[in-house]
Amino acid sequence: MAELTYRDAVAAGIAQEMARDENVVFLGEDVAAAGGVFKATVGLLEKFGPKRVRDCPISEQAILGAAMGAAMTGLKPIAEIMFSDFLAVCWDIVANEIAKSRYMTNGQISLPLVIRTANGAGSRFGAQHSQAVENWAMAIPGIKVVAPAFPADVKGLLAAAVRDPDPVLFFEQKSLYSMKGEVPDGEYVDELGKAKVIRRGKDVTIVALASMVHKSFDAANILEREYGISCTVVDVRSLVPLDTQTILSEVVKTGRLVTVEENPRLCGWGAEIASIVADECFWSLDGPIHRITTPHIPLPSADHLEDATIPSVERIVREIKDKID
C-alpha cells in the first residue's frame, strides 16, 4: 500500500491501463503537456508519448466523437471533459450517440470507452464549473456511471472502467483531488456496480456518493458521539449499475434510509434509491425516507454561500437528528 492523493490515483489508474494495453489512448484539453488543469494526469505524456496522450482543441464534441469513433474501431479511449458542466456542450455525443449505438444497431457497435470529468462543488468556481451532474448521466440508458470517493477506488474503478466493454462516465470529485489515502500497489482492478459499506450502525442507513460519503462519515461519528444515533454509511460508488442489494440489505438492518446527494433536488439519484427502497422494503422501514440534497438552484460562488448550499456535515447531523427525534 502506498499513500496517494486522489489526483495521483487518477494518473496511476490511467498509467496502469495504458501500460497493460496499447489500445488504451488518452485525450482531452490540456491533459498532456500541462498534465491536466487539476494536475491529475501529470507524467502520462512523458511515459506514453504524444501518440497515445493527446492534447485536443477546445472541442468537446470532437473529443467525445473521436473517442467514440476510435472505440468502435478497436481502440479503448479515455477522454477527459475538463469540467462536468461542459458535458452540456457535447451531451448529444454522450446521450444520443455513445449511449444508444449498441442498442440501435442490434449489438453491432461496441464502445469500450471512458469519459472522465471533474464534478461537483467546493472550489468556489460558480454555477458553470461546480455542478454535480451525475444524475444527468444516470437518466440515460446505455451509460455506466461511476463516482469514486477514495483514492483506492479512483485507481481500481478507473481500471475497471477501462476494461469494461461498455461506455463509462467517470465522475471525479474536484474537491477531493488533494485528499490522501492508501492505494494498493501493483495492478489493482476493482469491480463496477458494487457499493461499499464504510461504517456500520444500527439506527440509520446513510447512502452517499463521492464527497458526500466523507461528510456523511463525519456526520455519523458526531451523531454517535453526541446523540447516540448509530449510522451505517454506504458509499454507492456506481450509480449504473446500481448495487441495490447492498443498499436494500443495509436499510433493512437499520429500518431507516437517508440519502445524501450533492446534485440539485429534482430527480437526484437519491430519489431513485428512495423509490426502490419504498417499493421493495417498505415494511422494514421504521420511518419516512429522507433526502438531503443541494437546493434546487444554480450554485452560488462565494465561500459562505456555497458552503450553505452543499450538504454540510452540520446539516447532515441536524437533519438526521431531527428525523430520529
Partner: protein, 343 residues
C-alpha cells in the same frame, strides 16, 4: 449479381479514360440499385408498409455510388439519416435495408434502429446518424484509430449542406486537419437544408468548399450528379488519405428529386427548378454516357433489369419476414447482451 456476363470493352472510350469499363458498369449498377430501392421505399410508404419517416436520396445516387465503388472493403462509411444510399453502396443487403424500413426481423438492425440508423458493420457501414453533425467527429475518431494502428483504412463521412452550419462540423474539420487524419468529408449540397434554401442561411456561396481554407484544406467542388467526376475526386481524396496526406473536404453539387422527408412535398421550390435538375438526373446522364462510350443497350438494360429483380426479391423477402420478437426490447443495451442497470 454476376456482372462478368455484362462486361465488354468500351469501344469509344478515349485513350485518356482513367475509369475503365468494369468500373463504369459498377457505377451504373450501384446507381440503379439505389434508385430502384429508394423508389420502392417510397412506394412501400404509400402502401403503409413503412412507418415513421424516411429521407430519400433520389437524384443524389451518383455520390454514394461513386464512393461505394472507389472505397476499399476495409474503409468505413459514416452517413446521416439520409443514408439508405450510402449503406447500400457498401454492399449491405437490400432485404436488410427494406426490412429495417418495414420494421421486420430481417432488418439490418433487427427493427431496432429504423430508416435513420442503417448500419452494417460487417460491410464497413459504421452507422447512420440522425443528429446533424454528430458523425463528423465520430468519423474523425475512426480515422484516428486507423492512423494509430497504422492501417490504410479511410473513414468517409457524408452529410448535407445544412450540416456545415452546426458546430460539430467545425470541431471535426479542425481536429481532422490538425491531426492529419485519413478522413474524407463529403458534403452533398442539394441546395436545401430541410425546407430552407441553403444560401438564405449561409454566409458563403459554397457552404463546405468556401470554408475549406479555414482548415487549411483545398477548395473542392464537384458535380455530384456526374458519377465519373465524383469517382475521380473520391479516388484522389482516398489516395491522399491513405498516403498520410490528411483529410479532404469535398462539396458535391446535387439535387434531391423528392422533399426533405416523407412529410415534405417540396412545394417551396421555385417553378421549373426540379424540371431543370431532372434534365441533369445522374442516372439519365450516366446511361447516355455509357451508350455514347459504346456500351450496348442490352448491357445497360440488363443492369437495370437485374437491379429491379433484386429490389423485387428483397421486397418480397422483407414482406414475409415476421415483426421483431418482443424479447428484442430487453437486449443489447450492454455488451453482455442485456439491459440490467441494477442487481
Amino acid at each position: 449479381m454476376a456482372t462478368s456476363t455484362l462486361k465488354q470493352p468500351a469501344k469509344s472510350s478515349s485513350p485518356a479514360d482513367d475509369i475503365g469499363p468494369d468500373t463504369r458498369l459498377d457505377l451504373y449498377r450501384l446507381q440503379m440499385e439505389i434508385r430502384y430501392c429508394e423508389k420502392r421505399a417510397y412506394d412501400l410508404f404509400l402502401q403503409n408498409l413503412i412507418k415513421g419517416t424516411s429521407h430519400l436520396s433520389l437524384g443524389q445516387e451518383a455520390i454514394a455510388a461513386a464512393f461505394g465503388v472507389a472505397m476499399k472493403p476495409t474503409d468505413w462509411t459514416f452517413c446521416t439519416y439520409r443514408g439508405h444510399a450510402h449503406t447500400l453502396a457498401r454492399g449491405a443487403s437490400m432485404t436488410g435495408v427494406l426490412g429495417e424500413l418495414m420494421g421486420r426481423e430481417c432488418g439490418l438492425l433487427g427493427g431496432k434502429g429504423g430508416s435513420m440508423h442503417l448500419t452494417d458493420v460487417s460491410k464497413g457501414a459504421m452507422g447512420s446518424y440522425a443528429i446533424i453533425g454528430a458523425h463528423l467527429p465520430v468519423a474523425a475518431g475512426a480515422a484516428w484509430s486507423a492512423q494509430y494502428r497504422g492501417t490504410d483504412q479511410v473513414a468517409v463521412c457524408f452529410f448535407g449542406d445544412g450540416t456545415t452550419n452546426i458546430g460539430a462540423f467545425h470541431e471535426a474539420l479542425n481536429m481532422a486537419a490538425v491531426w492529419k487524419l485519413p478522413v474524407v468529408y463529403v458534403c452533398e449540397n442539394n441546395l436545401y437544408m430541410e425546407y430552407t434554401p441553403i444560401d438564405q442561411v449561409t454566409a458563403v456561396k459554397h457552404p463546405a468548399a468556401d470554408r475549406a481554407s479555414a482548415y487549411g484544406l483545398e477548395r473542392i467542388i464537384v458535380d455530384g450528379n456526374d458519377a465519373d467526376a465524383t469517382y475521380r475526386v473520391a479516388m484522389t481524396a482516398l489516395d491522399k488519405a491513405r498516403a498520410g496526406g490528411g483529410p479532404s473536404l469535398i462539396e458535391a453539387m446535387t439535387y434531391r428529386h423528392s422533399g426533405h422527408s416523407r412529410a415534405d412535398p417540396g412545394k417551396y421550390r421555385p417553378a421549373g427548378e426540379l424540371e431543370k435538375w431532372l434534365e441533369r438526373d445522374p442516372i439519365k446522364m450516366y446511361r447516355e454516357r455509357l451508350l455514347g462510350l459504346g456500351f450496348n443497350e442490352a448491357t445497360v438494360k440488363d443492369i437495370e433489369d437485374t437491379a429491379m429483380a433484386q429490389v423485387n426479391e428483397a421486397t418480397e423477402a422483407a414482406k414475409v419476414s415476421p415483426p421483431p420478437s418482443l424479447d428484442m426490447i430487453d437486449k443489447d443495451v450492454w455488451a453482455d447482451g442485456g439491459t440490467a442497470w441494477r442487481n
